[in-house]
Symmetry: C2
Subunit: 180 residues, 2 copies
DNA sequence: GTCTATAGATCGATAGAC
DNA sequence: GTCTATCGATCTATAGAC
């Protein structure tokens, strides 16, 4: 069985129960393998699996979501694109973000200062779009922080209430606000 | 030692490590008592403690935060008051919300449908203020959902990045938007 | 009420057969 | 590469002395 397939089977268990709630027994069951077989693929055990999945999530946010792509587009269209790609990242509010989950649990795989820098960097990407749209630097930073807050807050609400539409509606409102 | 004092000592351990990360050993250490002494006060063990703290949090949000108090005030002032009281609830972004934390971990003390109803009810309280301020029903619901998203999103970001000011700034922006 | 000591279950992780 | 069996540590919880 391929390692990336295994990781795809393992991710939902972490996303559902968090780092501490995802026991090796549960993880193994999610793959259909025995525990020992899982250790064959991931000698570092649970920490290794969680670390790989966490790095995958950060990498996806970094390279696929918070990127101001489409140089032909207006700043607002680029921001709207990032909202759309964040929606894809979290499967329209149906999947959760392991970065947020692990960070809240203070999981051993989390490097908290590095996470803080990552989110600051992503806010900066957003702020540059707002600046390109004519906002003053401080207003752009505020708008960027608000957007990240709203996206993650909506994702959290969708998870807490098991209503993915709460995320979709919020994402739509954000985009409408940009493209009105 | 008084039970409410004990609970005050126990809450931060759950808030820091989550339900699964807060072992009875850690909880006992936080109180200065031995494990057996903790079971004397809470025969139901960890689940009982977490349940009490969870109900405390919900009760505080219900009776102290999401209440449209001050009939003399304008709808916007009442909304601003709720933002202020949510800030008090989370200690200006320095403490986390156990409802959110336990819900994300699918902790055994969580009744997920009940939590979903609670947040829906709190959104309704906010929406009624927005309606009283002249918003149409659907717009009021949207504004209410946005406000809750932003508050919880900002609290989440503040926790993830260990920067409480991210919450304070967001709360301030929400209030400015209301009272401009 | 608080303690030490410990039971019994589950945890993460490993040995070794196949 | 997958398995059964098991280790040692940790977990929740309890027994019983003081």
């Amino acid at each position: 069985m391929d390692k990336s397939e295994l990781l795809a089977l393992l991710q939902p268990t972490f996303a559902t129960y968090g780092f501490n709630g995802a026991s090796v027994a549960r993880l193994a069951a999610a793959t259909g393998l025995g525990k020992a077989s899982l250790y064959h693929h991931f000698p570092g055990g649970k920490n290794e699996i969680a670390g790989v999945l966490l790095r995958q999530a950060v990498e996806q946010l970094q390279s696929k979501v918070f990127v101001a792509s489409g140089k032909r587009n207006s700043p607002n269209e680029r921001l709207a694109g990032m909202i759309d790609r964040f929606s894809e990242y979290c499967n329209d509010g149906q999947s959760y973000c392991l970065v947020a989950l692990f960070a809240q649990e203070q999981a051993p795989v989390i490097d908290q200062p590095a996470i803080a820098e990552q989110f600051a960097a992503w806010r900066t990407v957003l702020a540059q779009c707002y600046e390109a749209d004519g906002h003053k630097p401080k207003a752009a930073n505020r708008a960027a922080a608000s957007l990240v807050n709203t996206l993650y807050g909506a994702l959290l609400m969708a998870r807490m209430t098991d209503e993915p539409k709460l995320f979709l509606q919020a994402a739509k409102r954000c985009k409408n606000q940009l493209l009105n």
